[in-house]
C-alpha cells in the first residue's frame, strides 16, 4: 500500500504541473524539429514517431512533457538503461531546450499508432494487472498513472500501442534500477517476468 500511496502522490503532483507544458515552438523551431525527427530520429523511431523495430519506442502521440523530461535525462546522462546509454546519450547531447520542446511538440501531435492483437489469455491477465494491479504483492494499478486507456496522465507517459518488447525491457530496467525511477522501481520490483509480459502485451493492444 505504501507504493500505492506514493504513486497517488506522484499522480497528483503530475496533474498539478500538467498545465506547465512547454510553450508552442515558433515555426522555425518546428521546421527544424520536423527535419530532425524525419532525418535523424526517423531511422529508428520512424518519420512520424511510429517505429518499425520494437527495440525503439513509438513516439507518436506521446505526452510532450514526458518526452521533454526524457530528452533532458538523456542529455544529462541520468537515464541509464542500456539503449539510453548506447544511443540516446549521444543523440540528445547537443539538443537545446528549444529543440527539445519543438521535438516534443512534433511527436505529441502525431497520430498514434494502431494497436496489435496478442494472445487473448495473456491480454486478459495483462488487463487485470493494468486495471487493478497485484494488490497481494503491493503492485498498484498501472491505470492510476497511465490512465485507463493507456494515454498517460500529466507527466506520465502514454503506453497505448507501445511495442511490448520495449515496455518489457523498460520494466526490467526499472526493476534492476538501471533506469532509475523510484516509483517504477517500486512497481516493477515485485512483478514477475510473466506478469511483465502480460501487461506489456496488453498496453500494446490499446489504441
Amino acid at each position: 500500500m505504501c507504493y500505492v500511496l506514493r504513486v497517488c502522490i506522484v499522480v497528483l503532483l503530475g496533474l498539478w504541473f500538467a498545465d506547465s507544458r512547454a510553450d508552442e515552438p515558433d515555426p522555425a523551431a518546428h521546421a527544424y524539429a520536423r527535419r530532425l525527427a524525419v532525418g535523424v530520429c526517423g531511422p529508428c523511431h520512424g518519420p512520424h514517431g511510429s517505429s518499425v523495430q520494437p527495440k525503439f519506442p513509438h513516439l507518436a502521440a506521446q505526452n510532450a512533457n514526458y518526452l521533454i523530461a526524457q530528452l533532458k535525462n538523456f542529455r544529462g546522462q541520468t537515464r541509464g538503461d542500456p539503449d539510453a546509454i548506447s544511443y540516446m546519450w549521444g543523440m540528445a547531447g547537443p539538443l537545446t531546450d528549444e529543440t527539445i520542446d519543438a521535438l516534443a511538440a512534433y511527436y505529441s501531435s502525431q497520430k498514434a499508432v494502431s494497436s496489435r492483437v496478442a494472445d487473448a489469455t495473456e491480454l486478459a491477465r495483462g488487463r487485470e494487472i493494468y486495471a487493478n494491479g497485484v494488490p497481494s504483492d503491493g503492485v498498484p494499478a498501472c491505470a492510476a498513472c497511465h490512465g485507463p486507456d493507456g494515454h498517460g496522465l500529466g507527466d506520465f507517459p502514454r503506453l497505448a500501442g507501445q511495442h511490448s518488447q520495449y515496455v518489457l525491457k523498460q520494466l526490467s530496467s526499472f526493476k534492476s534500477n538501471m533506469r532509475n525511477v523510484a516509483v517504477m522501481h517500486g512497481v516493477a520490483q515485485t512483478l514477475r517476468v510473466t506478469q511483465m509480459r502480460a501487461v506489456a502485451a496488453y498496453v500494446e493492444s490499446l489504441e
Partner: protein, 474 residues
C-alpha cells in the same frame, strides 16, 4: 611488345584476383566519437551495417554530436563548422596464416624446397582514418594503410560525400548526395556488394585464384569515381556515376610527373566507365531485407609497363559486369542473424588483349557467386559460414598453364577459371572494437581443377588456409 603486353595483362588479372581475398574493410570508432553513439547503432558487429548505419553513410557521415568550432558572416552565413575532436581512428590487424600444404621455395630452382609454412603478420595491416564530418553536408571516409607485403603506406578505401535531405510533404525523407570514391561499391550501403562484403578480412599470405571480375575489387584504389545517389523513404536507392583511372605510383615516361598516363601503364580506363546501382530495402519488426542490382561497364586499354611500354591506342578490352545482391538481417539484443549473397556476371570483349595475343579468345565470361550466413550472440560470440564460386569460359592463355620447370601454384592446367570453396569463421569480441577471428578457407576447385590444378601436382585443397586474426580499431 606483344608478349610484354600479354604478361602485363596476366599479372593484372592475378593482381586483381588478389583483391577478392584481401579486402580491407573497416568500421571506425571516430564515427562513435563524433555521434556519441555506441558501435551497435551503426553495426551489428563491425563492419556490417545496420539500417541506421546505412542512413548515416547515405547522409554523408555528418551526424555530429560534439561541440563545434564555428564561424559566421555578418549575414549569418555559416563559414566554418569544425568538430572539437577530429574524427580520427586507427586500425591494427595481427595475423597468423597456415596453408594446408606449403608453397614451393623458389629461392633456388635447382634445389627444390618448401617455403616456410606459418606466416605471422605483425601487422598484417595498419590503417589510419579520417572518418567523419568535414563541413556541413560534407563528410569523408579516408583510409591510409600500411601493408606488410609491400612495406609501404598507401591510400586505401576512400569515400568523400556531399549529402543533404529533403523532407517531403508526406514527411518521408529523400536523401540525395554525391560520392567521390576510389573503389566501385565502397560507397554502397549494404554489405552484399564487394567492397564491404564477407570475408571482411582475410590473410595476405594466402594463394589467390587467377580470375576475378572488374567490380569485385580489381579496380580498387586505382580509379576515381563520381556518383550521384538518391535514397527515398529509407527504402528505394538509386545511384549512377562513372569511373576513370587514377593510378597510384604511375608516372609519365616523358616528364616523370604524375600524369598523364601513357603506355608504361597497364589497363587504363578508356573514357569513363559507367556505374549504376538500384536497391530496395524493407524493414519490419526486427527484420530487414534488401534486394538489388548493380553494374559496371569498363573499357580498358591494355597498355604496358615501364620496361615494356605499349601505346594506349588501338582496340580495348570491354568488361560488362551486372550483379544481383540480397541481404537479410535479424537484429535483436541477444540474437543477430544475417544472410547475404551476391552473384556477379561479367561478359568480356577482349579485342585489345586478343590483338596482342594475351588471350586465346576474343570474348570470355565469368560468374562469381558468394553467399554467407552470420550469427552473433549478444554481439560477443559469432560465427559465419560462407560459400564462394567463380566459373567462366576456358582460356588457356588468360589462365595459363605452368611453363616447363616452373613452380605452378598460380597457374591453371586446363585453362579454366573455376574456383570453388567455403569459408568458416568463428569470432569473439571481448569489447566491441576488438575482434578475435579464427577463419578456415577450404577449396574444392582452384584455377580450374581439384587435383593437379596447376599442372605441377598441386591440389586445390593444398591452398586451404587457416587464418588467426586479432583485429582492433580505436
Amino acid at each position: 611488345m606483344q608478349s610484354a603486353s600479354a604478361t602485363a595483362f596476366r599479372w593484372w588479372v592475378a593482381f586483381g584476383a588478389l583483391f577478392i581475398f584481401m579486402r580491407p574493410a573497416a568500421a571506425v570508432p571516430s564515427f562513435a566519437r563524433q555521434t556519441g553513439m555506441a558501435c551497435e547503432a551503426c553495426h551489428t558487429v563491425f563492419p556490417e551495417l545496420t539500417h541506421f548505419g546505412r542512413l548515416f553513410k547515405a547522409n554523408g557521415y555528418i551526424l555530429d554530436n560534439v561541440k563545434q568550432v564555428q564561424d559566421v558572416s555578418a549575414k549569418k552565413e555559416q563559414l566554418l563548422e569544425l568538430a572539437g575532436i577530429p574524427p580520427l581512428s586507427i586500425m591494427l590487424e595481427i595475423s597468423y596464416t597456415q596453408l594446408k600444404h606449403p608453397l614451393p621455395d623458389l629461392a633456388n630452382v635447382d634445389v627444390p624446397g618448401e617455403a616456410q609454412n606459418g606466416t605471422v603478420g605483425f601487422p598484417q595491416q595498419f590503417s589510419l582514418f579520417y572518418a567523419g564530418k568535414i563541413a556541413p553536408h560534407v563528410g569523408a571516409f579516408i583510409q591510409a594503410t600500411y601493408d606488410n607485403a609491400g612495406g609501404t603506406f598507401s591510400i586505401d578505401n576512400t569515400d568523400l560525400r556531399f549529402a543533404d535531405m529533403l523532407v517531403l510533404p508526406d514527411d518521408h525523407s529523400l536523401i540525395y548526395g554525391v560520392s567521390l570514391n576510389n573503389n566501385p561499391t565502397v560507397q554502397d550501403l549494404w554489405n552484399s556488394t564487394p567492397a564491404f562484403g564477407f570475408p571482411y578480412t582475410t590473410s595476405n599470405a594466402l594463394v589467390s585464384p587467377l580470375a576475378a571480375t572488374q567490380i569485385d575489387g580489381s579496380l580498387a584504389q586505382d580509379v576515381a569515381g563520381l556518383t550521384a545517389y538518391v535514397f527515398w523513404n529509407e527504402s528505394l536507392y538509386a545511384e549512377v556515376g562513372g569511373y576513370r583511372s587514377a593510378k597510384q605510383g604511375a608516372a609519365n615516361s616523358l616528364t616523370g610527373a604524375a600524369g598523364p598516363l601513357d603506355g608504361t601503364t597497364s589497363n587504363v580506363i578508356s573514357g569513363v566507365s559507367p556505374y549504376w546501382r538500384l536497391a530496395y530495402e524493407h524493414n519490419w519488426g526486427s527484420h530487414s531485407i534488401e534486394a538489388g542490382l548493380y553494374g559496371l561497364d569498363v573499357k580498358l586499354l591494355p597498355g604496358g609497363s615501364p620496361s615494356a611500354p605499349y601505346p594506349l591506342v588501338g582496340p580495348y578490352n570491354r568488361f560488362k559486369d551486372i550483379a544481383e545482391d540480397i541481404q537479410y538481417q535479424y537484429i535483436a539484443d541477444e540474437h543477430l542473424v544475417t544472410v547475404t549473397g551476391t552473384r556477379i556476371h561479367e561478359s568480356m570483349n577482349l579485342a585489345g588483349s586478343f590483338a596482342s595475343g594475351a588471350v586465346a579468345n576474343p570474348s570470355n565470361n565469368l560468374t562469381t557467386t558468394r553467399m554467407w550466413v552470420t550469427y552473433y550472440y549478444r554481439r560477443r560470440i559469432g560465427a559465419t559460414a560462407g560459400f564462394f564460386q567463380t566459373t567462366g569460359s576456358s582460356d588457356p592463355t588468360l589462365y595459363p598453364a605452368a611453363a616447363s620447370g616452373a613452380a605452378g601454384v598460380i597457374t591453371s592446367a586446363n585453362g579454366l577459371p573455376t574456383t570453388r570453396g567455403w569459408i568458416a569463421e568463428a569470432d569473439y569480441l571481448p569489447w566491441l572494437n576488438t575482434k578475435l577471428s579464427l577463419q578456415y578457407t577450404g577449396y574444392t576447385r582452384f584455377n580450374g581443377g581439384s587435383s593437379n590444378y596447376d599442372g605441377v601436382g598441386r591440389s586445390a585443397s593444398a591452398n586451404n588456409t587457416l587464418f588467426l586474426l586479432l583485429w582492433f580499431a580505436y
